[in-house]
Amino acid sequence: MADRVFAGVLLLVTLAYSVIAFTAISAPFQYDPLGPESWPRLLSIVAILCILAILWKPDTEALDVSNRAWFRLFATVVLLVAYAELYEPFGFVVATILFGTVMAAMLGAGILRAGIFGVVAGVAGYLLCAQLMGLNLPEGELVAWVTGAFTPDTTGGSS
């Protein structure tokens, strides 16, 4: 059953892919006989046949994921999206402390230990990657604003 639902969704996406390949993609002119549209057309047809085969004879009955696991998975994805969104505004250190703490706490580390983990990961990660290896990690607008490490344009000016 789970198979069929998944294959059904995939079928819709592939059909959309196919429709675009057959109608929208074209070049003003081209030097090869295939052009930009033939390859996606071919792929989409074979893919649709494969999906129909799965719909015809599915083999995965159920996902077998407990409600508890569903909840945690959902929370993890929310956390990851938040982490990605806050990466630049908060900067690597703050975003990582927040993410590391919440994630570790959710997975069962004690709140205090989770906090220590988050701080260590954020600070050590920054020191190791940005300072030692010279990687380009975001310092964060928030941090810059709080510490005043950056002065705004008004006082900056060219020297």
């Binding site: 003003p28 081209q30 030097y31 030692l132 380009n136 344009d153 060219s158 020297s159």
Partner: protein, 322 residues
């Protein structure tokens, strides 16, 4: 990075380098919006070596392949709009893409044009054992049967590499649509295909041929400049000299995001202007096969806008845009 900063401090205290105006630029970066090895790479290398005395450190060159530079252009118009430490390489090809609308909603008014690295020129290149000894032999074949010559380069249809081929065919009296053109992923792959015999003619640039001049593997039939170049290229005739009115000048330079602070922008512009005054920068340009075209700041901005307008008209003529 600590090692680098330490080095810069030492250099400063000895009084060797790092003039005051470069202070606004922290960990400078040049973004080459392509895979390594091509023209954007070369452009960034010029800034990297040429600005080193002004910046006090060698800037990092990063690669942001985007086929035609659209990713970098959009990134610097959406997320890194105020990144004062990074400059992005552009060329006439980027301007062509802006003109033909390939960069989406953003146009030439959305970024800040910093400075030029110099000018490069198109070149018609064959293998040294090719049957084409002169440009006129090639042009005769183009005129007789355009499909008899397999021509390749590192860009897609509508790119400036393609445009060079199209202009050659048009001058020979043939239609660019009859060309046998093979699009490779960057100049490196196209050169490999030329050496391997998959293609007969490569419409590349003068600058990228510098490392290959001594090897004797390839020959430049013509340089697509308005006047003969100097240095290592002094012996190579232009297409115009040989009686074919084909010219392709590539402006190479750098832009920054549209919301970069004046302080950061001016620091870069000043660094370039200072570098232009040095003999080392001129030597560097010559060595990389670039002619001096030293324009920065407002002057460049005006020049770019005029240039894009002109390209828009040409693209309309060629049927690339409505």
């Amino acid at each position: 990075m600590n090692i680098l900063r330490l080095g810069a401090i030492v250099a400063l205290s000895v009084g060797l380098a790092a003039p005051t105006f470069a202070q606004g630029i922290d960990s400078p970066e040049c973004v080459a919006p392509a895979n390594p090895g091509g023209g954007f790479d070369l452009t960034c290398r010029i800034a990297q070596t040429g600005l080193e005395p002004q910046l006090g450190e060698a800037m990092q060159v990063t690669f942001m392949p985007g086929g035609i530079g659209a990713v970098a252009y959009n990134l610097f118009n959406t997320t890194r709009t105020d990144d004062g430490s990074a400059i992005v390489a552009f060329s006439s090809g980027s301007l062509l893409n802006i003109a033909t609308g390939k960069y989406g909603e953003f146009d030439e008014n959305d970024v800040r044009w910093v400075a030029t690295a110099g000018a490069d020129f198109g070149a018609v290149i064959v293998r040294s054992d090719s049957k084409y000894q002169t440009l006129s032999q090639l042009m005769d074949d183009f005129a007789a049967d355009p499909a008899s010559v397999v021509l390749g380069a590192g860009g897609s249809v509508g790119s400036q590499d393609w445009m060079k081929g199209a202009l050659l065919l048009r001058d020979a009296g043939a239609s660019p649509r009859d060309m046998r053109y093979v699009a490779f992923d960057g100049g490196g792959e196209a050169i490999a295909a030329l050496l391997g015999g998959s293609i007969e003619v490569y419409t590349g640039d003068v600058g990228e041929m510098v490392p290959h001049l001594d090897s004797g593997d390839m020959r430049i039939l013509a340089v697509l400049s308005s006047e003969r170049l100097g240095g290592a290229f002094a012996d190579i005739p232009t297409a115009i000299e040989q009686g074919y009115n084909v010219e392709w000048t590539i402006m190479r330079g750098f832009y920054m995001g549209g919301e970069v602070s004046d302080a950061a922008y001016n620091a870069w512009v000043d660094a370039f202007k200072a570098a232009y005054q040095t003999e080392e920068f001129a030597a560097l340009q010559a060595e990389k096969g670039l002619l001096p075209l030293n324009v920065a700041g407002d002057e460049l901005t005006a020049m770019v806008k005029k240039n894009v307008q002109g390209l828009r008209e040409v693209a309309k003529e060629a049927g690339l845009i409505q």
